[in-house]
């Protein structure tokens, strides 16, 4: 079946759902030891894991997951760079089982894979770069509550199954379907832990502003997954009560000359404000747009501050006179609300310098 770009339009979705009354799996299989430790050893040796134990993707587990989404197992979702592996519902589900996902997480993983393949995201670059870049996966909309994707305290840390396994499933798909073998194809000089999993929900209910996905043209009641290639997290201890003070701290943290968005003049530097930080801004009359404008202006770096020696790597900087801009325009800075309520630590996620991708999450009819 050819890639069907319209598979998620309502009429098409119902049609393909009707076609999948019984899941028929086509993936090849192997026989492994019944002992889970030996299974882990086996799959690790084959290079199919991220170095952590996986749930064995038995036929029953994969079928159960595909049955939930009510899609044809062989429905092709995307081609994944660099290998050009064809991601199908089935092989995405196999990787989702391995990651420890529940069946109800699969629609998110499928949408994430679809987003990764959007041309502007340049998955090839993300998968093969020497940069530590990893996709930050942001979930918006009602599905957050339906499947308990956490966006509050500790959302980017351990403890939340949906966050951990959805992010991990996407990473396993990038490895097994896209072929980004660590150190061989994925040339990250060092990497960072977000390459295991890097997923959270936006705290929409705690935000005084519109949720992120509505800025991208979606309705509030749509569920979406946004993928932003990021270089890690930078915590900012911004325990202040005025917007200006908070912004000075945040702007300082963002102005790292070596982050990729400065070099590429593109991408989406991302700021995660706590609910209280957001309230401080909102009560003082600040909109997201105004925050972005301030940050864009105050993170410009004079060329004279950089080393005189020409850099080894190429660059496509966005310049404002003799000052380098953190990205192409203020509107490209992403501001979301998440984390613990108190106005202590907010976070900056430096951008790899590729534009983000966003896709609608399509839940099965009746689910």
């Amino acid at each position: 079946m050819a890639l069907q770009s319209n598979w998620h339009e309502p009429a098409i979705f119902i049609m393909v759902s009707e076609m999948t009354k019984q899941t028929s799996l086509a993936a090849a299989s192997i026989h492994v030891d019944d002992d889970v430790e030996r299974v882990f050893d086996d799959l690790y040796e084959r290079g199919w894991t991220d170095g952590l134990p996986v749930i064995p993707p038995t036929r029953e587990r994969v079928a159960r997951m595909i049955d939930y989404v009510q899609l044809p197992a062989d429905l092709q979702i995307a081609e994944m760079a660099p290998k050009g592996g064809v991601a199908t519902v089935e092989n995405i589900a196999i990787n989702a089982v391995m990651a420890g996902c529940r069946p109800e997480y699969l629609p998110v993983v499928i949408a994430a894979v679809e987003a990764l393949a959007q041309p502007q995201f340049s998955l090839l670059g993300v998968q093969t770069t020497t940069n530590p870049a990893a996709p930050f996966i942001l979930i918006n909309g009602p599905i957050r509550r339906q499947i308990d994707v956490h966006g509050g305290r500790g959302a980017l840390g351990p403890g939340w199954r949906a966050n951990a396994t959805i992010g991990r499933a996407v990473r396993l798909a990038m490895l097994n379907l896209g072929g980004a073998i660590p150190a061989e194809i994925d040339k990250a000089t060092l990497g960072f832990p977000g390459k295991y999993t890097f997923c959270m929900a936006e705290q929409e209910e705690e935000s005084p502003w519109e949720p992120f996905h509505t800025e991208q043209g979606f309705n509030r009641e749509d569920s979406t997954v946004t993928i932003i290639a990021c270089q890690g997290t930078q915590s900012v201890a911004a325990s202040y009560l005025t917007p200006e003070s908070i912004l000075r701290m945040l702007g300082n943290a963002m102005t790292v000359w070596g982050t990729n968005s400065y070099n590429k003049g593109d991408g989406n530097p991302t700021v995660i404000l706590t609910p209280m930080h957001a309230k401080i801004f909102h009560d003082a009359g600040w909109s997201k747009a105004r925050i972005k404008e301030w940050l864009f202006e105050h993170t410009k770096v004079p060329m004279s501050e950089l080393p005189l020696e020409p850099r080894l790597m190429a660059h496509h900087r966005m310049m404002d006179g003799d000052r380098i801009c953190i990205c192409k325009q203020a509107a490209d800075i992403v501001v979301i609300v998440g984390g613990a309520p108190e106005a202590y630590h907010l976070a900056f996620l430096a951008s790899y310098g590729n534009p983000l991708a966003i896709a609608r999450i399509n839940c099965p009819v009746g689910r």
């Binding site: 199919w48 064995p56 993707p57 391995m98 670059g125 093969t128 896209g178 590429k264």
Partner: protein
């Protein structure tokens, strides 16, 4: 225990209709660079060698973005103006 294999197959690669070149003598050669200094330093030497040692008639240089796909316009130019192309990328 039977488990399903998590890796994907790739599409069949389209068979190339262009015959391989036995020699570069008299041929037009394109060099594609994404701007890394190493490639930019190498390109003049490569161009000179291609002409002096291998007899290339013409060398055309193409710049591509550091990590975005090559544009269709650039591909069309290469197809139109080159008999062979050397791609130098790094990231």
């Amino acid at each position: 225990m039977e488990i399903l294999i998590p890796i994907a197959t790739t599409r069949a690669v389209r068979k190339m209709n262009t015959a391989s070149l036995a020699l570069l003598t008299g041929k037009r050669v394109g060099i594609v660079s994404n701007g890394w200094r190493s490639m930019e330093a190498m390109t003049p030497h490569l161009s000179q060698r291609l002409k002096e040692k291998y007899g290339a008639s013409e060398i055309s240089l193409y710049s591509v973005h550091i990590n975005k796909p090559i544009t269709d316009d650039t591909l069309d130019s290469i197809e139109r103006d080159c008999d062979a192309v050397i791609v130098g990328l790094a990231n």
